[in-house]
């Protein structure tokens, strides 16, 4: 075999290996989850794996959680990425999905928007987001957190003087935590997750009913493990799951 042939074969082999699907003998549930749900779902998955509840399962159960911005995940799913469950940060993302979902989405947790600041620094409420002397941030309107922030500003009657529109809420939270920003509109759960952050709630004058920060989860129609997926959704409504949800600072629907 001449050298070019060997080279071509090597390339083909590498590509083939990269394309191969993960081992399906142990059932692996693939979940696409929003960034803010990352830690929560990780703990929920661990609990599910230990005790999958009644149904299913002869082999070991693995839960593989792919965490990214909701819109990024939605894009990947639309372009053909395969997953069993999709848990975005807003129902809007589910609606934008080209791939169908099975049944109605299940709402399993809620969150609320707060104004975070670094512990030790001056507390900053949403009304102060017009101050041009402060370094302020929110998420970009194209991601759920940013859409909620825009709605919050509108409800509060504020034209914010933002210095950045971060593409995902984790990077926004970390910039506030590092002190690079004076304040940012993030989720309450993000403040809980980072010991360097403190929160100022939105004032009662702001009509929070416009901010429906509820997390839906839906099974995708082309799920590889539909029974497992349904079992996981079922699990999310159990008392065990609920206590984990609350422990992470989320609310219950």
């Amino acid at each position: 075999m001449n050298r070019v042939g060997v080279a071509a074969a090597t390339v083909a082999l590498t590509l083939a290996m990269g394309c191969s699907s993960p081992d399906d003998s142990a059932s692996t549930l693939r979940v696409f989850a929003a960034t803010s749900l990352g830690d929560l779902l990780s703990d929920l998955a661990t609990a599910f794996q230990a005790d999958p509840g009644g149904a299913v399962v002869d082999d070991e159960v693995n839960v593989d959680i792919n965490v990214a911005g909701s819109s990024t995940l939605r894009l990947q799913l639309n372009e053909g990425a395969s997953a069993d469950l999709f848990a975005p940060a807003s129902t809007e993302q589910l609606q934008l999905l080209d791939v169908g979902t099975v049944g109605e989405p299940t709402r399993f947790a809620t969150n609320r928007l707060v104004s975070a600041h670094r512990i030790g620094g001056p507390p900053i409420g949403i009304e102060q987001f017009t101050d041009t002397n402060l370094l302020l941030g929110a998420c970009a309107p194209s991601v759920p957190c940013g859409a909620y922030a825009a709605a919050a500003f509108k409800a509060a009657g504020i034209e914010p003087a933002l210095d950045t529109e971060e593409p995902d809420v984790r990077s926004l939270a970390s910039k506030v935590a590092e002190g690079e920003l004076d304040a940012g509109l993030v989720y309450a759960t993000d403040v809980l997750a980072d010991s360097r952050l403190a929160a100022v709630e939105l004032p009662s004058s702001v009509d929070v009913s416009v901010l429906d920060v509820t997390y839906p989860v839906a099974q995708l129609t082309d799920a590889a493990h539909p029974e497992l997926a349904a079992a996981f959704i079922e699990f999310l409504t159990t008392a065990d799951a609920r206590s984990i949800i609350i422990a992470h600072g989320f609310g219950l629907p």
Partner: protein
């Protein structure tokens, strides 16, 4: 003769044609770049393209991208050429280490670079605090921050290209210039720089291109605010979630700008032996 004694039959072809294996591999190499580009073109919303490009967001991002990428390339040149000279021509302790460090931005994930810039120049750093308290200057979340992030990632490209060119000079033209009365600075400006011009241009274009496409360090250090710090790559990323067609339109704009720059420069400033008209017939070089 082949193994069984029959004579080889060879097709007559000119000796200057490249060997088949090279053509195949080279074509695959081109495909690696061309195919994704074709993918982009196939999804382009040709009907609404112009309208999308006329949008304020896009025009702002274009303006910011051009300003910051050109500024970064210029800064990379102003600081990078002397640095390249020092690395190529002088000996000082730690020179090899410095050379390795200078190429670090090429190897580091850009986001890590952006984070490093935050640690060094952010509000809580000594430098950042000094600038803020004395001059009221805050580098992150400003267009200056974008330029700094861009320069950070672009500089190594220029230094590496130019250092090689300077090291390749044998120094004899510089000696000749000295005998004519040129000071070392004049030798540098009037002899060395013109002699390395092709590499200088190549390095500058590479630096510009890297800065133009920069994303990770920019968004981490300078943030993302339309009209102030949102460059074209940042706009693409933001729009990718909200309005994918606009994202594709902006991507196409970036491709068009890049091709325009590279083609324009190649003709005038970056002649290769194949393109230039001047005959090279072995006469005194």
């Amino acid at each position: 003769m082949t193994a069984n004694g029959a004579p080889h039959r060879t097709r007559r072809r000119p000796a200057t044609r490249p060997p088949a294996s090279i053509v195949v591999l080279g074509a695959l190499g081109a495909a690696i770049v061309v195919i994704p580009l074709l993918g982009l073109l196939s999804r382009t919303p040709w009907g609404s393209l112009l309208d999308r490009l006329r949008d304020d967001t896009v025009l702002d991002a274009l303006r910011i991208s051009l300003i910051t990428s050109v500024a970064a390339a210029a800064l990379a040149t102003v600081f990078g050429v002397p640095l390249a000279w020092l690395l190529a021509r002088t000996r000082f302790p730690g020179r090899r280490l410095l050379r390795a460090i200078v190429t670090l931005p090429m190897v580091l994930p850009p986001v890590v670079g952006g984070a490093a810039l935050l640690f060094a120049l952010g509000r809580r750093s000594p430098i950042g605090r000094f600038l803020d308290e004395e001059f009221g200057i805050v580098l992150p979340f400003s267009i200056t921050g974008v330029i700094i992030a861009n320069t950070f990632v672009a500089l190594p490209f220029l230094v590496v290209t130019v250092e090689g060119a300077i090291a390749a000079l044998d120094g004899r033209h510089e000696s000749a210039a000295a005998t004519l009365g040129a000071s070392r600075l004049t030798v540098f400006r009037r002899v060395v720089i013109p002699m390395i011009r092709p590499s200088l241009v190549a390095g500058g274009v590479l630096a510009w291109a890297r800065a133009f496409g920069e994303f990770g360090a920019t968004i981490t250090f300078a943030g993302n605010l339309p009209g102030r710090t949102q460059t074209l790559p940042l706009a693409v990323f933001t729009e990718l979630d909200a309005d994918r067609d606009t994202a594709i339109a902006i991507s196409l704009l970036m491709v068009a700008v890049s091709i325009a720059v590279l083609v324009a420069l190649r003709e005038r400033w970056w002649p290769t032996d194949m393109d230039s008209g001047a005959p090279r017939d072995g006469v005194a070089q």
